[in-house]
């Protein structure tokens, strides 16, 4: 597929098991994946397919049961909590579905939060670029409660970009937004890939959101079952339907 030089993150033989005995659930089953640098990758799959778990493991938010996860050239499975935390702070950006912002901080403080935690001075020029790209210049001193849902997600995107992380993980970033705000946020994410070479991994179940990505990886029952380059919403939808039937022979085709 791609050479190691252009891989931002990867997993080999990644297995994640929750619980024991009767309650044992295999969330990820021997997954191999490479996240290409400078690309926008979407991870898709039905509920319970393991797509969020995959993201959490890749981002160092959750421990793995077996296998390795590499970000840059660091094996996350060898890191202690403190090192993992530092790695998240310096190398990784996050955009969550909801509750992305600290309510007591204003928009600007939220954007620079990871930098402030690290105690590093923000790169002023880059910060201006990011703020202008998301179009929040006039809203910087507003508290999150004074911003719309779309604006809040744009602040979250700006925060994720502000520290120039190696990779941004977005977990259903448009899940709570109306379609217009969603399109704005997705457009911004795509532009940061095209214009600034940012690496983004987005978990979603929305074919329309997935169509903004350059590559879609399909997950079902904890395994990667397919992938698609340069997707459109229709192709993704088709694929989803088809793979529902193929991948889950007894599943409800409506799901």
């Amino acid at each position: 597929m791609t050479t190691t030089a252009t891989t931002a993150a990867s997993a080999r033989g990644l297995t994640k098991v929750y619980g024991e005995g009767e309650a044992r659930v295999v969330a990820l089953n021997d997954v191999d994946i490479d996240i290409e640098q400078g690309h926008f990758t979407a991870i898709m799959g039905p509920s319970g397919s393991g797509k969020s778990t995959l993201m959490h493991c890749l981002a160092g938010l959750d421990s793995v049961t077996e296998g390795t996860v590499t970000v840059g050239d660091v094996d996350l499975t060898t890191l202690k909590d403190k090192e993992l935390t530092a790695l998240r702070r310096d190398q990784i950006g996050f955009v969550f579905q909801s509750f992305n912002l600290i309510p007591t901080l204003n928009a600007e403080e939220n954007i620079t939060l990871p930098l402030d935690i690290a105690g590093t001075k923000p790169d002023k020029q880059w910060l201006d670029t990011v703020i202008d790209t998301v179009g929040l210049r006039s809203r910087l001193d507003h508290k999150p409660s004074e911003l719309s849902g779309g604006q809040q997600q744009r602040v979250a995107c700006a925060r994720a970009m502000a520290s120039r992380p190696a990779i941004i993980f977005a977990d259903e970033p448009t899940g709570n937004l109306d379609s217009r705000s969603g399109a704005e946020v997705l457009g911004f994410l795509r532009r940061s890939v095209d214009d600034y070479g940012q690496t983004i991994v987005m978990v979603t179940h929305d074919p329309n959101a997935a169509s903004y990505a350059q590559r879609v990886v399909f997950l079902a029952d904890g395994r990667i079952v397919d992938e698609m380059r340069d997707p459109t919403a229709e192709r993704v939808l088709d694929r989803m339907k088809r793979f529902d039937i193929e991948g889950k022979p007894v599943a409800d085709p409506e799901a």
Binding site: L61, R89, F96, I102, D116, E172
Partner: protein, 847 residues
């Protein structure tokens, strides 16, 4: 609905625990106060009721000497009166008794026992005679009763302190100043209680020889035949009594003592309850805060109940039922903890030198009722407002996912502002009122302070924003910024949490300011009034032998010795008091007294000088004759001078011969020494020290040492009051734990987000600890400002009572602030630890 409320209760053990703990502590103090006084009462009752003679014959002067330990002659009755009484029909036996105060037990080094510890009346025990068990409140624990002139028995406490055993020799310092050695024959204990009063016991003949003259006893215990009533025996005795003696039946004596106990213990109970109520008030804040937060967190749950058809009143009832269940449970636990508090109070009083028993604890049904009522009342009142707020939650709130925003503060601020203003107004007026009536003025100032304090507490949410911003600037970095933001997010909550601490710190500051002002004023009085170079006092301010003054008078370098002798007396205007005998010439050299009328030089036999306050009260002036009741009976005194009370000198002053007629013994209360100006102070002091060496129960103090000895006494009282306020402060700190623990719970997702974007666990902990610090310092500073202001006001009001100067003990107040801050930080440790242990994924998981 009730089942839902109860199930909810047990589903959240942590919340239950935190809420309950605050109720437990508040109830515990109230219950502990009652248990303490009831137990004290029970111990005293057993003491009064058993081993009472049927009739006691005692000097009438005993009516007004009982309040004063030491000083003056010991009033006596003749023993041959006992022989006459014994002849009466119906009387089976008459037992002469001797009881004297001011017997000093010396330790191995020849020092008064425990003098180093500086306790009240160090080494001083009651001297008494061993009597038959029918009238003896004590019993022998070990060995036997003393029966010869060189034998003594001591109470177990004193024996333990001395570290001696039966058979050892013990040395006693007698009121005459002589030392005498006795063989210890046994150890005694008061029956049925563990009172810490010390007793030295001799046989009658020995005690009479040591303390009285032949033919004298301090009382006669009369036992009657069972068929004869106490009253009948008394009526037979009365015609035989000489002047100055009286006969009291056992029942009369018991009811007299009982009455005194009722008023004494009632006062003690009220005094302690004041502190208990402070704790209850503080706890109410905590409970209110907890329920507010619980309701806020359960908005969705309550809205869901509304959505599925629960009525408003059902929601209201459900919250109140939950509160009531917690209250009952916590109150019951509080009664148990109250027993511990009662023990603590016993220890506290014992440490302060009060000989209170540590006997069995008494649980009256009244205690349990009061505890339950207090617990239920504060909990329901505190929960009512949050519950009403909960009941108006619209069902649609169940669908929304947001923590409720803090509401506008308008009405609360208005009420707070009004109370604050009204309180200030009263405060400004109170000193004027105090000029005419100190009590009324103090009362008004108290009301003013209460209004200001409640006003400030109501205004606290408004103050919280600017104040936390200022305190928060101490902390740089993201943790500081986040902590500051958190304290300002819900000013109402921050204010309530801080407010609990405000109350405690306010009261401690008031006491601190009053104590510092008193100390400074006393020091000022010492400077102004005491011209003497040295002051000689007994340990624990007990009287000491007149030989001390004589020895000092013969010392080189001493120019003047002014002795002060006192005796109990009942007099117009002062009630039961002490008459003070001085040499008019010597005392004017030792003290600078301000004489407002007449002259002290005119003080001759049969005259008195009266302080101007007492004179005004009884309408006396120079030339008036006043009749007083002395140990020797009624005496007329001619007023020849009026003086301003100063330096502990108040009431009736006479010359030494008159004082002796009124009943002073040859013991001195204080000796003032003026040195020869030509001799250096340290030389004179050393000479005096050598002169008083044979008298280990006196201390020679120069002016500064005298000042600091008084300051130390005030300091001791201060520590005692602080100890009573500690619980209120602890409850307030618990409030910080509570608020933060619930805040951490509320901010689970926020903390998860911070962790996700790279904050270390240490950073989370730091944020929470800083938040606690800001809240604690805010509360403490607020309390201190109000407290110091109120202390200043009280000082002005009490200026006429001798607290003429205002002083602030800055290091002490700074210590309060540091302790509050440290307490806040410690309170935050557990919530901070919990916050830092939150699992990121649980925290950020979308539902």
């Amino acid at each position: 609905m009730l089942r839902a409320a109860l199930r909810n209760l047990f589903a959240h053990k942590l919340r239950l625990g935190l809420t309950a703990l605050s109720i437990v502590l508040a109830v515990a103090f109230v219950a502990g106060t009652y248990i303490f006084t009831d137990s004290l009462r029970a111990s005293l009752d057993t003491l009064i009721q058993q081993n009472q003679p049927d009739v006691t014959v005692q000097p009438t002067a005993a009516d007004f000497t009982s309040d004063f330990q030491g000083g003056g002659q010991t009033p006596t009755v003749p023993t041959d009166l006992g022989d006459q009484i014994r002849q009466l029909p119906g009387v089976t036996s008459v037992i002469p008794q001797i009881q004297v105060t001011n017997v000093v037990v010396l330790d191995g080094q020849g020092k008064p026992l425990g003098a180093e510890a500086g306790g009240f009346g160090s080494g001083t025990v009651i001297g008494q005679t061993w009597t038959p068990p029918e009238v003896n409140p004590s019993e022998i624990i070990d060995g036997r009763a003393p029966s010869a002139a060189d034998e003594i028995a001591l109470d177990t406490g004193t024996v333990d302190q001395l570290g001696v055993v039966v058979g050892d020799a013990v040395t006693i310092l007698l009121p005459s100043g002589d030392r005498q050695e006795f063989a210890l024959t046994g150890t005694t204990r008061l029956r049925g209680s563990g009172f810490g009063v010390g007793f030295a016991t001799w046989d009658f003949d020995t005690a009479q020889e040591l303390f009285l003259k032949p033919g004298q006893a301090t009382s006669l215990a009369v036992l009657a035949q069972p068929s004869v009533s106490q009253g009948a025996v008394r009526d037979e005795i009365v015609p035989l009594l000489p002047p100055g003696a009286q006969a009291i039946t056992g029942d009369e004596q018991a009811s007299q003592v009982s009455e005194q106990l009722d008023s004494g213990l009632g006062f003690l109970n009220t005094f302690l309850l004041v502190f208990a109520i402070v704790s209850v008030f503080v706890a109410a804040f905590l409970i209110y805060n907890t329920f507010s937060m619980l309701v806020a967190q359960r908005t969705r749950e309550l809205a869901l109940l509304r959505a599925i058809g629960a009525s408003r009143s059902q929601v209201l009832r459900s919250i109140l039922a939950e509160a009531a269940a917690v209250a009952v449970l916590a109150s019951l636990i509080g009664i148990g903890v109250g027993a511990g508090i009662a023990r603590g109070l016993q220890a506290l009083f014992q440490a302060a030198g009060a000989p209170f028993p540590s006997g069995q604890l008494v649980f009256e049904p009244r205690t349990i009722v009061v505890a339950l009522v207090v617990g239920l009342f504060i909990t329901l009142v505190s929960a009512l407002m949050p519950a009403r707020r909960a009941s108006v939650i619209p069902p649609v709130a169940a669908m929304r996912d947001e923590t409720p925003a803090s509401r506008a503060l308008g009405r609360r601020t208005m009420v707070g502002g009004f109370l604050f203003g009204a309180g200030l107004g009263l405060a400004v007026m109170s000193p004027r009122l105090a000029e005419s009536d100190t009590m009324q003025g103090a009362l008004m100032a108290g009301v003013a302070a209460g209004a200001v304090l409640i006003g400030v507490l109501a205004l606290a949410p408004e103050l919280a924003r600017p104040a936390t911003a200022v305190i928060g600037t101490l902390f740089r970095g993201i943790s500081g910024r986040l902590a500051r933001g958190n304290t300002r997010r819900n000013p109402r909550r921050t204010a309530a949490t801080a407010g609990a601490l405000t109350i405690g710190v306010c009261l401690m500051s008031v006491i601190s300011v009053l104590a510092a002002s008193t100390q400074k004023s006393v020091a000022g009085i010492v400077d102004d009034v005491i011209g003497a170079d040295f002051v000689v006092t007994g340990y624990g301010f007990q009287p000491f032998p007149g030989k001390v003054g004589e020895a000092i008078r013969d010392t080189a370098g001493v120019a003047e010795v002014a002795v002060v002798r006192q005796a109990p007396m009942r007099a117009p205007g002062t009630g039961d008091t002490l008459v003070t005998g001085v040499d008019p010439v010597a005392i004017q050299r030792a003290l600078s007294l301000t004489v407002t009328a007449g002259s002290l030089d005119d003080l001759a036999d049969g005259d008195t000088a009266l302080d101007s306050d007492t004179a005004a009260q009884i309408g006396a002036g120079v030339g008036t004759t006043v009749q007083v009741l002395s140990l020797a009976g009624p005496v007329d005194l001619a007023v020849v001078a009026l003086y301003e009370p100063a330096g502990g000198l108040t009431g009736y002053i006479t010359d030494l011969p008159t004082a002796q007629r009124l009943g002073t013994s040859d013991e001195d209360s204080v000796v003032y020494v003026v040195k020869d100006p030509a001799v250096p102070a340290d030389v004179v002091e050393a000479a005096i020290a050598t002169a008083v060496e044979p008298f280990p129960n006196v201390q020679v103090l120069d002016q500064s040492a005298f000042k600091s000895s008084i300051s130390d006494q005030i300091g001791q009282l201060l520590n005692f009051l602080f100890a009573l306020l500690v619980l209120a402060v602890l409850i307030a700190l618990l409030g910080i734990v509570n608020t933060l623990a619930l805040s951490v719970f509320e901010r689970t997702r926020e903390i998860g987000l911070l962790r996700a974007v790279g904050m270390w666990r240490g950073g989370i902990r730091r944020t929470i600890v800083i938040e606690a610090f800001i809240i604690a310092v805010f509360g403490a500073v607020l309390g201190m400002v109000v407290g110091v202001a109120f202390g200043a006001l009280l000082q002005r009001i009490l200026a006429s009572q001798g607290i003429e100067e205002f002083a602030v003990n800055v290091p002490q107040l700074a210590l309060f602030l540091v302790l509050a801050a440290v307490g806040g930080v410690v309170a935050a440790l557990w919530p901070a630890w919990r916050g830092s242990r939150l699992r990121i994924l649980t925290a950020i998981a979308t539902e």
